[in-house]
Structure formats: C-alpha cells, structure tokens
Amino acid sequence: MKRTVPLIIVMVGGILMMIQYFIPHQASQAVFDYYTEWAPIVGAFALVLGVGSLTRVHFHRIRRRSKNWPYSLAVLIPLYAMPILGLMVPVSLWGGMESPSIFHFLFMHIQVPIQSTMFSLLAFYIASAAFRAFRAKSALATVLLGSATIVMLAQVPIGEIFGPGLQDVGLWILRFPNLAAKRAIQFGVGFGILATSLKIIFGVERNWLGGAGE
C-alpha cells in the first residue's frame, strides 16, 4: 500500500502512455484526452510541497527565535498575502491582480528587480574569477580558454577591430566543433533520460519514494 501501489501506478501509467503513442484509435485518444485534462489539476497541487516546506522551515525559525528570525517574516507574510490580496479581496488598489494593485506592485517592482539583479551579480563574480581562478593549467584548459576568447570577441561589435576573419572563425566554432560536441553530449543525455525513465517506470530506481516515511 505504501510503496507497492505507487510503484504500480508509475508502471501502469508509464506503460499505458508509452503504448498510447503508437495507437491512434479513438479509445486510446480518449485516454489521452482524460490525461491532458487531469494532469494539470493534479500537477497544480504539487505547489503545495514547496509552499508547505517553506512555511514549515520559516515557521520553526520564528517559533524558536533562531538567529535572524525576523527575516522569516519577510518570507511568510508575502507568501500568504499575495494569494489573499490577489484572489480574495475585491479588485481595487488593495485587491486583484491587474495594475495598479498591491499584488502587481509586489511582483513587478520588488520581485522582478530583485531577481534580475541577483543574477546580474554573476557578471561581477565572473570578472573576479577570470582574474583569480581561470587557469590554463593543461593543454585542454588552454584550448577551452582560447576558444572562449575567440567566441567572446566574435560576439561583440568591437571584435571587428581584430580583423573581419575573427567573426567568421567564431561563428565557425559555434556551427561545427561546438555542434559536434553538443550533439554527442545530447545523445548521451538523451539516452540517460530515457534510461532513467525506464528505471523509474519499471521500479528499478526508487529514490523518488524517499523522504515520506517508511
């Protein structure tokens, strides 16, 4: 009941959908139509997992008054305020999801700038690592850095001053050797994904069952 039934569901669901692909018949199509209708509904609830663990971690921090606990309020308050303001309060400056509203404001003027700025920090870190850590320690690392330099120059207008050929070389690297490497990796990754799918469908890989008690 606890492990066997989920394993059966995975196996039946997986094999059914795999076979379904090859059968165009209306009965098979009906199975598929039910699936496309139901899966988003089930999938939508998966959000509960993330929200639940966030709530649990931060609620504990507040209750135990652990170090920096007030920041946990900064997680929990918007977490619950957003859906309440967006869905339950009538459309006004306070409620609703369209601009202007608190919901829209929190997303557009706090979430978006913070998240995009977070990622832009990496420009600084990459510069620092360029100086302090990227080493041509071996022939292979040298090839990597060389190819990177050519591509970096070829991608920006200033690359032109190093001669018109540089851009062509950069594009050539992208279109041929890069393509070869990525295609080979893709074959490997593709087979890896397929093998993992098989292992999960046939119950060889059961790690995903973990973390929910015995």
């Binding site: 989920p6 959000l47 977490l79 913070i114 995009s116 690297i173 080979a184 994904i193 929910a212 015995e214």
Partner: protein, 210 residues
C-alpha cells in the same frame, strides 16, 4: 507621486540593496533575499489558482457539471499529506501518477526528437556542389567530431589503440572547443544581465540615458 514612479523608486532601492552585497553582506540584502522567496511562491499560488484550480476544478464542481473531476482533485489534495507524518506515504500517489505518465508520454517523443532526428541530421553529406571549403571542412569536423566525442563518452572499452585511443583524444579536444563556446556565451549572458540592470538604474530611474 504616481503608482509607477513609486514603483521605480522601490525597484531601484532593492536593486541597490542587492548590489550592496558586493561590498559586504548586510541586513537590507538579507531582507531582499527573503522577500523574493516569499513573493515568488505567493505569486505562483495566486496564478495557479486563478488559472487552473479555479476554472478547471472548482468552477465545474460548483456548477455541478464535472463530478468526474473529483478524481484528479482528490489525487492532487493527497500532496498535502506529505506534512502529516502518519499518512505522508499517501503523497506518493499523485507523484507516481505525474511521474509515470509524463515519463511514458515523453519516452517515444524524446526518442524521436532528440535521438532519431539528431542521428538523421548527423548523417549529413560532406560535400555538395558549390560548397565553399570552410563549410566542407566544417562538415568533416562535425562528423568526425561527433564520432570522437561519442567515443570519449564510451565506457565499455579502454581508451587505447588507434580507434578508441586517438578517438577519445580528438573527442575531448572537440568537447573543449564546444565548452569554450559555452564559456564565452555564458560570460556574454552574465554581462547582459548586468547591462539590463544598469539600463534600469541609469535610464528608468535616474533618466541619465534614454
């Protein structure tokens, strides 16, 4: 002050709060970091209810037209049991449903789109009439490079001898050329993100640039 103007000032404040981390970690940075976690999760809940759970589950149920939807509805609700230690195992049911079916659906399609199609494209002719030399060279590099890189990721034979030894050596060189391209593009991407923020700060906020 208008809604948008306040918005730009608040956004600028938080942008600077994040950048202040470059100097030193500080409370303002930490506040911003936590806020973003809460807001993005809260936003996802609201949107998911508004778009899926409401119109596709709750509305038909209230209208009494979709009793069969109770099945996926209840299956979905079982996710909540994850937080009740005694019945946490029930949360495996919806997971099993989603994982099994999506892997089953994906299997033949992945085989077709990522393996067979790519194999078909890898079997390209090297030369066609009127092809310039660098394309022909490129085609040769592409075909031999793919083969060599595949040899590098081949684990069943030792990397010795002409075929496997040379092959894997050429393979790793081709892979490094490819990684060089990735490296260059990654640097480009990170700088672009910085450019986006500077355009916001100097343009939308301070109006120093157009």
């Amino acid at each position: 002050m208008s809604y948008d103007l306040i918005g730009i000032w608040v956004a600028a404040l938080f942008t600077l709060a994040i950048y202040s981390f470059l100097y030193k970690e500080n409370p303002l940075y930490r506040l911003a970091e936590h806020l973003v976690v809460g807001i993005s999760a809260g936003y996802s809940i609201a949107i998911t209810y508004d778009i899926v759970v409401g119109p596709k589950l709750v509305d038909p149920l209230i209208a009494g037209t979709g009793w069969v939807l109770l099945i996926p509805g209840i299956l979905g609700l079982l996710y909540i049991t994850r937080f009740m230690p005694n019945v946490a195992w029930l949360s495996r049911y919806p997971m099993a449903f989603i994982m099994g079916t999506s892997m089953g659906v994906g299997f033949p399609l992945t085989m077709k789109a990522e393996v067979l199609r790519q194999l078909e494209a890898a079997m390209a002719p090297i030369y066609a009439a009127g092809m310039p030399w660098h394309i022909v060279l490129g085609n040769l590099v592409m075909i031999f490079g793919t083969l060599a890189a595949l040899i590098y990721f081949f684990f069943s034979k030792p990397h010795k001898g002409i075929f496997f030894g040379t092959g894997s050596k050429v393979g790793i060189w081709v892979i490094m050329l490819g990684f060089g391209a990735t490296f260059g593009f990654t640097v480009m991407g990170r700088i672009s993100l910085l450019i986006g923020r500077i355009q916001f700060l100097l343009g939308d906020w301070l109006h120093l640039i157009k």
